[in-house]
Point group: C2
Amino acid sequence: MAQARRYAGGVGGNRSLERGIEILRAFRPGVDTLGNGEIAERCGLPRSTVSRLTRTLVNSGMLDEVRAERSYRLAASVISVGHAMRTGSPVLNAIGAMMRAESAKRRLNVGLAAADRTMMVYLESIRYSPRAALRNVVAGQQVPMELTSLGRAYLAGVAGAERERLLRLFKRRSAAATKALLADVRRSISSVERDGYCAVSWQPAVLAVATPIALDGLPVYALNMSLQNVDRSDALASEMGAYLNAFAAKCKEVLASR
Amino acid sequence: MAQARRYAGGVGGNRSLERGIEILRAFRPGVDTLGNGEIAERCGLPRSTVSRLTRTLVNSGMLDEVRAERSYRLAASVISVGHAMRTGSPVLNAIGAMMRAESAKRRLNVGLAAADRTMMVYLESIRYSPRAALRNVVAGQQVPMELTSLGRAYLAGVAGAERERLLRLFKRRSAAATKALLADVRRSISSVERDGYCAVSWQPAVLAVATPIALDGLPVYALNMSLQNVDRSDALASEMGAYLNAFAAKCKEVLASR
DNA sequence: CCCCTAATTCCACTTAGTGGAAATGCTGGG
DNA sequence: CCCAGCATTTCCACTAAGTGGAATTAGGGG
């Protein structure tokens, strides 16, 4: 036994910190408050441990305690960290304005997303509407990687090992429709390799096309364009694809010159 | 010595988790990447400790590693947590749409903020512009508590002990202008108590009024309205104050009925 | 190619964290 | 009003997990 002992943080990282982060992530969109019991269950942790960690998160300002119902909710601080992320992001800084202009010019939704485990998360999603008052911008929304154009473009953009790791995860997730789904994902990846983009209609009457943006020193991003209230049509998809390719080229140019 | 030993997490909380959160917070808006050395300095931690904690944060998906420059940046995951916070927030859910309508109706900026240590952070800041294309919504931006109407309204909304704690912190921060500043803050608090709102012109040519929203089971929020490109005038301030009081009353009504 | 700087790994030390068990504190029913 | 039942928090013996200074390794510039 050459390696008798595994030193803390040797490779697995700091356990308490990992668990604390997992607790924050247990607050998925839509859930308001969580009690220690529910957190313990969701994260698979002993209740006493959760009790201590949530206390710490309250002290650090990441959780607010709701005394009355003995539960917690995410505190406002988490969005200031989120804001810091967005203002720091060199990609969003470089192309955010261009995205907004493009959305207005082409009259469609334009989005930029990155991977968050097996989901894609929008750094910015510009929702076009003919009625100016209804146009809006969302950040932080998650969509499933394997089902969306955004996610499949991302998969096309990452190197072999990481891609295969993710595909294996999808397999484990939905045992049933897996065969067909994976084939479909691979078809989208080929589509990106062939045409530069892939088209997916994840939600009814919404057609989306996406393309990866992979530059070194940066994680892989995916750029998409989409339109509501349309039927899936190859003609429309290739028109949007052409717009997207042109726009992505312009973005990469801007990004290459830092 | 009755209490010989302080048990871990007894009251201070979990150290590693606290430190990890502090590392995330070291990424303030505008900073793109931070190296372990710089993080160590900013957080006052030993470099080896930082090295281990940043590794953990990368594994947990909260940081992206920039190999080339041996540094880190906030990962996209942080905005998905931020998004979860916003979608979970019962206050924002209840009055977000009303705020947007009010901004359009009154043709001014409307914001909702909560406290983050000694800063106020916008859950939503609706920036009005006559040009529809320039209207936008920001979340997560921080403004200093002691200098803004938002912050002072917040101070007016929190109970004695917490308020005094914060005032002491401001004192420690800016030794010089403290006397006058604190007096000004107290004047704003009185203004809230008397008129329901306070008016402050923190940035040149911007006039803002704010009022606290304190409901139990929830942290104290502050609601504000503001206008750019105007001179400070008491007439304008009291007109805006009246709008704000009316709007805040409507909000509280909606919030009271859950 | 080699120095210099900064990050990472090593490792002896021990404290900070752990989790089962006991205690406490709410809540709703009788 | 009190008590049963449940959930959360505190206690504490135990020790593995984490710590930080020292040694090492890895970049990057001259």
